[in-house]
């Protein structure tokens, strides 16, 4: 099997279209995961034991089952109960929920790392629970966790090809359709790998920068 550069240039525009969708899915998924993660982390600390337990179990369940099956579930099962989602929306929700449970652990660690004195000081200043969170705890807890969160978002980026299984036309799906049209697998599949490698390596550089900027000083 020969590597054909002409073919590479011919299919490049289609693949670039796919890359755009892949990046869009990652960005939307990350935003959703950041919000879902915070919500889970806060609910798990709830005073109400029943709420804390059931949210904890749900998060554990989502983390212990494959993203692909969850995507199928959202895409195929929800329409039966009357919720019909476009593929891209279903994919974003799947990515956001799945990685939200991972992000929740990062938030938990970040919140636990805020010294006790800060909570006591907030109480001494007569701040309400809401004020304590928004003005004292979260501003201190979030910056150190940015590198860890970014790590998960890069992991999410590498899972986006799964969206092709629920018919989102992202990079992998474009490559598959190209491959099936021309019966050539070497170039499209290798290019998809190359795209992922390049974007991942770039994001690793970004991650290093985030670590220097926000990471903890010790070690």
């Amino acid at each position: 099997m020969e590597w054909d550069w002409d073919f590479v240039w011919q299919i490049m525009p289609t693949l670039i279209e796919g890359v755009k969708i892949t990046i869009l899915a990652t960005v939307l998924g990350s935003a959703l995961a950041a919000v879902v993660g915070l919500a889970i982390a806060l609910l798990r600390r709830s005073e109400n034991k029943a709420v804390a337990r059931s949210v904890g179990f749900a998060a554990e369940f989502i983390r212990g089952t494959p993203l692909l099956v969850q995507l199928y579930f959202i895409f195929y099962v929800l329409p039966d109960v009357g919720i019909l989602l476009p593929p891209m929306v279903a994919g974003t929700i799947g990515l956001g929920l799945h990685y939200g449970t991972y992000a929740a652990e990062v938030y938990r660690a970040g919140i636990d790392n805020v010294p006790r004195g800060q909570w006591e000081a907030a109480k001494a200043c007569n701040l309400s629970a809401r004020q304590t969170w928004t003005h004292v705890i979260l501003p201190q807890a979030i910056p150190p966790m940015i590198p860890a969160l970014a790590n998960y978002f890069i992991a999410m980026f590498k899972e986006t090809p799964l969206l092709s299984a629920i018919t989102v036309l992202e990079l992998m799906n474009q490559a598959k359709s190209v491959a099936n049209t021309y019966y050539r697998y070497v170039e499209p599949m290798t290019l998809v790998g190359a795209f992922f490698l390049v974007i991942s390596l770039c994001s690793v550089v970004l991650l290093r920068w985030l670590e220097r900027r926000y990471g903890r000083v010790e070690r």
């Binding site: 212990g64 099956v69 992998m172």
Partner: protein, 219 residues
Amino acid sequence: MTAWAGYIELILEGAVVTIKLTLMGSVLALVVAFIAGLGRLSRFFAVRALATAYIEFFRGTSIFVQLFWVYFVLPLFGITLTPLQAGVLGLGLNVGAYAAEVVRGAVQSIGKEQYEACTALNLGRWQGMRHVILPQAFLVMLPTFGNNAIELLKATSIVSLISLADLTFQAQVVRSQTGNTMVPFTTILVIYFALAMLITWGIRRLERRLSRGLDGVRA
């Protein structure tokens, strides 16, 4: 009702394939992880470079892309693998790359005095590694290995897309034959979760067993 018995059998067959893949993939990943992880700590530049290239490549590209590449592109170079072989190879090499970093981190976390003690006892590099460093480092690796094994279990769902009849694949078969989506997908989600719990439990038991008698040694 008789029909359901047949479908349950299908799902159980899928579960066997998933378990087989997880076990074989884990064994391959474990072997690869030790080779690549210790390779990164080698005295020789060439070995270090090779190990680093392997780890960065497999961590930088998506498992989905790697599986497709193994399954669709390798045959064009004359290497034809059955779906099961391709699945085990892809999963093992991918998770092995993540686990290699765990091996490296754990070996590096062992205190310098242990290495000095090896020198004082006139142990060779390999002897010191085998009898002093690795037994201690292995305990540090175990919890993360457990997480890696769960990631591997979840990743096995992707092999359904290269036509291997695992849990996810069988659920799709049941869906297309019965038109029922809720039952098959809920069932396999529960099975995946149960398997993940089983791994967590097994690792915890192993950890307790291996740390017996080490209380005075571990800081």
